[in-house]
């Protein structure tokens, strides 16, 4: 059963002018529980705008969003409650941090959710440890490095334990180790706690490694939604979206044309590697 359903979503930033362009133009898709969804598309294609709709922060010009089958645009819908269930980490951590100290910032969501102060701070510290930044807890979030800010932004959302986690270019500004740790962490949440994950990225290798579903946006339109191989190997879609097909997929395709029997559902680095080794 789909946990999140987007129906004919349209959005324009300036809704005072009839002629202003639709940043989202008739976007429809649905996401199931436990999905690991990648949203790809070139800069300005509307990815960030789309995810700002998913927790009701932006109100669509037209169209509907259903969470667990009920419309979040219903008049009496509890949007605040929804935001504890759908956690969104913004593209720019500066836009997300506002408290005087890191620990205050992380605890904000937990306190709003109804935890006692002690519990909230205890939990926040645990999460800071998870991201290996517990030593920063009394710093001002504005004086941190880019990667550190991003980790604090993650922590502030993780602390609410949402059912759906949404990340906008989570790897930007992270060093290689932190990035791997981060992806392993959300993979674990996805596998063990059935958390649904949606992430925006420009790195198609990460899409192959982690996603089970891919959404391609271009100029506000949804070009395709499907399994990673279906989408990434579709030359026409990739060309229309102005994206380069990953090398691994190109090699994979050539091998398939040559008659080798390969499993298109196994695209993770290890799986690909083993498939190639098994060829001879």
């Amino acid at each position: 059963m789909s946990i999140l359903e987007v129906k004919n979503l349209k959005y324009q930033y300036n809704n005072y002018e009839k002629t202003s362009k639709y940043v989202l133009d008739d976007v429809s898709f649905s996401i199931d529980e436990k999905d690991f969804v990648a949203i790809i598309g070139k800069s300005g294609s509307g990815k960030s705008t789309l995810i700002s709709h998913l927790n009701g922060l932006y109100k669509a010009t037209s169209g509907d969003i259903l969470y667990n089958g009920s419309s979040i645009y219903r008049k009496d819908y509890n949007l605040t409650g929804l935001r504890f269930k759908i956690g969104v980490v913004f593209q720019y951590p500066e836009y997300q941090l506002f408290s005087e100290t890191v620990i205050d910032d992380v605890a904000f969501g937990a306190i709003k959710k109804g935890l006692s102060k002690d519990e909230a701070y205890k939990k926040s510290e645990e999460i800071l440890k998870l991201f290996e930044i517990e030593q920063l807890k009394n710093e001002s979030p504005f004086n941190l490095s880019g990667g550190e800010k991003r980790k604090v932004a993650f922590a502030g959302i993780f602390v609410m334990e949402p059912e759906i986690l949404i990340f906008d270019e989570p790897d930007a500004g992270l060093d290689a180790t932190s990035k791997t740790n981060f992806y392993n962490l959300i993979k674990k949440l996805n596998e063990e706690k059935d958390t649904t994950i949606i992430f925006i990225t420009h790195n198609l290798d990460d899409v192959m490694e982690y996603a089970n579903k891919v959404i391609v946006l271009n100029e506000g339109k949804l070009l395709k939604i499907g399994k990673p191989y279906e989408v990434l190997s579709d030359e026409e879609i990739m060309k229309n979206a102005d994206l380069d097909m990953p090398y691994a997929i190109q090699i994979f395709n050539d091998l398939k044309i040559k008659g080798y029997n390969l499993d298109t559902n196994k695209l993770k680095f290890n799986e690909l590697y083993n498939q190639m080794l098994d060829i001879n």
């Binding site: 002018e17 935001r83 956690g87 005087e100 904000f108 709003k112 959710k113 959302i157």
Partner: protein, 277 residues
């Protein structure tokens, strides 16, 4: 609510009003504001209304966008109506205990409401159609005669332009912080007025922090480009009157004469012109 403040915002569009010299627009706004306060009867308000409608039509900014700014003014408007309505002595029309509504009160309340609304719309049209830098240029040039009296016109103009430029930036900042807090469960929309006001408090600290940070950045930027207020500066696009600007001045003159003439119209049952020559 905060997002609805249009004061100081610029709305990009190609229109005659946008292309007018900023000095003309400054004078026009001034003339309009003065006309509102010397208006005494319905004819003056009629002319002011026509003037405003023409300006709104010509500037091609969506009407909905212009009046968006009025929403944040509602409380001020209600307070002014309230006081005028109940506290003006005169012929009593309706009395509710200690509150007495008088005929004079009603008239003054209506006048005040119209003045306030027109005043805000009129000055919004100025800022909606003029970029802050043009506005500053206009002020600087328009007030340059004051330099004779040792008034630091350039500094004042710069201060004005920075202040004006900061209004939309601060509003954007508030918007950003609200979004950040809302996505982590803060609620700005529900509850009574007191609860709503309370929920705004956590916005203030981050707002001040970022405002100071921005001011600091701006100071660094100005210093690193060796800004000095007594340097002689040239303009990239010096202000120069065009034909349309002179025409607008002529219309303004006509308008202000009309407004003055209305003062000599007396209404008592039938309309009479008083002798004024």
């Amino acid at each position: 609510m905060i997002r609805d403040i249009t004061l100081g915002q610029y709305y990009k569009k190609d229109s005659i009003v946008h292309s007018l010299d900023p000095r003309v627009k400054l004078v026009a706004t001034l003339v309009f504001l003065v006309s509102l306060f010397i208006s005494t009867n319905i004819f003056a308000y009629l002319f002011a209304t026509i003037f405003l409608i023409i300006a709104i039509y010509m500037c091609r900014v969506p009407f909905k966008f212009i009046i968006r700014g009025l929403k944040s003014l509602l409380i001020l408007l209600l307070i002014s109506i309230f006081f005028n309505l109940f506290l003006t002595p005169g012929k009593i029309v309706l009395s509710l205990g200690i509150f007495k509504i008088t005929k004079e009160g009603i008239i003054i309340a209506i006048k005040m409401a119209i003045r306030l609304i027109y005043l805000v719309i009129g000055s919004s049209i100025l800022t909606l159609t003029t970029t802050p830098s043009k506005l500053t240029d206009g002020l600087e040039k328009g007030l340059s005669f004051l330099k004779v009296f040792k008034v630091p016109v350039a500094e004042i103009a710069l201060m004005m332009s920075i202040a004006l430029r900061f209004i939309p930036i601060l509003i954007e900042e508030v918007d950003k912080i609200m979004n950040a807090q809302m996505s982590r469960g803060a609620d700005f929309e529900h509850g009574n007025i007191i609860e709503k006001a309370k929920s705004l408090i956590p916005l203030l600290i981050p707002l001040f922090v970022s405002a100071f940070k921005r001011a600091n950045d701006l100071a660094y930027a100005m210093e690193s480009r060796c800004y000095s207020s007594d340097a002689i500066r040239t303009k990239l696009r010096p202000l120069k009157y065009k034909k349309i600007d002179y025409m607008t001045y002529a219309y303004l003159l006509l308008y202000i004469i009309l407004i003055f003439l209305t003062r000599y119209i007396k209404i008592d049952g039938i309309i009479k012109f008083e002798r004024f020559l």
